[in-house]
Amino acid sequence: MYSYDKYDQALVDQRVEQFRDQVRRRIAGELTEEEFRPLRLRNGLYLQLHAYMLRVAIPYGTLSSCQLRGLAHIARRYDKGFGHFTTRTNIQFHWIKLEDIADAMAELAKVEMHGIQTSGNSVRNVTADHFAGVAPDEIEDPRIWSEIIRQWSTLHPEFSFLPRKFKIAVSGSPNDRAALRIHDLALRMHRNAAGEVGFEVMVGGGLGRSPFIAKTIREFLPKRHLLSYLEAVLRVYNQAGRRDNLWKARIKILVHELGAAKFAELVEAEWNQIKGGAVEVPDAEIERIAAQFVPPAYDPDAPTFTHEFDALRLNDLGFGRWLKTNVARHKQPGYSIVTLSLKPEGGTPGDMTAEQMDAVADLADRYSFGEIRVTHVQNLVLPHVRRADLPVVWRALAKLGLATPNIGLATDIIACPGLDFCSLANARSIPVAQRITERFNDLARVHDIGELKIKISGCINACGHHHVGHIGILGVDKNGEEFYQVTLGGSEETNASLGTILGPALPASRIVDAVETLVETYLALRRDGERFLDAYRRLGTAPFKERIYAAA
């Protein structure tokens, strides 16, 4: 894992003291709210419905056990004892006080964390495949380049006032686990015909009011030119992106209006001016950063099976289900990747108490080389668990309520904070997610339904990724009442697609029944082994629409 050097630490420490003074000036009346607002947003501090909310960046979703304990401390000391993991792999604290914020940030800085660029029109927290460095299908570890992007984009003077926010994702695998195609810019590592590793560069993806799937503008970018090429993309966007209309300011609109080919042409022209220049990362620096992502000291003799493991797998249905959905293959023989479900029945997707954070940090230290990952699906991962330790880890997680065997299934729902917390929301998201998990509380049924991604947003900004849900649910306001619009057939994976609106929005009282009807329709029509998404792609909306609106 990457550890701050003296420059990283000095930058974050200085920012804490700058912000401490800005908060003091605000409370003393030397700054108006209008003057203070952009300053607090640059540090991830929002004013939401009930309180201030602090968003803390978790670069490429990677946390040390020490950092997770640090977050637990913030939750306990400065908030109401919990935090909320987001689809940007960040964590949000919903109940922070302005008068405490500088102290909270100073404590975060001690564990190499901050809220810088988690808001505002800048390059946001870079995300990556949450199985980075451990996935068997990986070509190269995307965290090395994610860290380089983090350093390059942090306080980059030219890109601190972009037309709008800018989100980057990186993957080192052919199978997309990082929702690449819904990002402003995405990088996928692959090999060219000569066997060299480089990046496919995609731009102009995004959800919100005008959703788009990103388009490839360069099939192969040699790794050594990454930063000059990114700089060229950002420079074209910074100059040509719209600043006259908030809803048309994202790069996706520019790419759509110009066309991907023309946009690529502008980028190439800019790139040719700066390629090989001062912004390229020296080899020594790449090596310094890469050295911090070397694999941990795996036991080469770690057994792939033990008697206890085998017996439990055969005799305990719960363990068997958990292995099937929450445990993934690791590149190192004898090890597994364990996903912790933050989606218990009736719970709030992505929420975690301080006690759970501390306990997971302890488990990470004991069983996963002190490392934890955050996924864009609002779950956590222990990336390096010996297969022989799976029974004990499963029991420990079950006690913590973090072993629900539902990863990728109907109850592994993404939900934004919605109208329970967010000042932008039109409708609540979390209660809908809770009611769906309560309706689908029979694990046998949920496993029979199979892969099904339900994603819920409380407004068109789409923090809950509803456009790419197999079933997407969007909260809308109709004359002060909460209604929900349903989309079908979205996916953020390798063959990404945007969902199709099924029909008129449904009242809150009907939305859970509607989800159940969609599932029952799928079960009646599916072919052997056919997932919900595949069945939808074969059948289209018609049979689903008929069932939902016939009942109206």
Binding site: G29, L49, A51, G81, L419, F421, I430, Q434, D477, G480
Partner: protein, 105 residues
């Protein structure tokens, strides 16, 4: 039992407290309260304007951030926001937030 008399034209002033972001309401004695039941109710435009003038001065005085008027229904001593958003601001979140805060039924 007091019969609910909905008065859609009734308004009160709300905002967030500067120091901690808490939801607050302009109360009858020009003080601010976290309890919506203490809100000073305006039944006409002139009174609403007067309350907003008090609130805007409180924003200058760093008590409240971004004050604004909301529509409420008044029934006896009870003041209920008309819209879902303001109801959630007043009594929410509507979900359990550890340790345990819950919207009253």
């Amino acid at each position: 039992m007091v019969k609910a008399v909905k008065t859609p034209a009734a308004q009160i002033v709300t905002g967030n407290r500067l120091r901690d972001g808490a939801v607050i309401y302009l109360a009858g004695d020009s003080q601010w309260s976290t309890d919506i039941a203490q809100g000073a109710v305006a039944h006409d435009a002139a009174e609403a304007n007067r309350l907003m003038a008090v609130a805007n001065q409180a924003a200058v005085d760093r008590v409240v951030v971004n004050p604004y008027l909301i529509e409420v229904a008044v029934a006896g001593d009870s003041i209920q926001p008309v819209g879902t958003r303001e109801r959630i601001r007043a009594f929410g979140p509507s979900i359990a937030t550890p340790p345990s805060d819950r919207l009253p039924a």
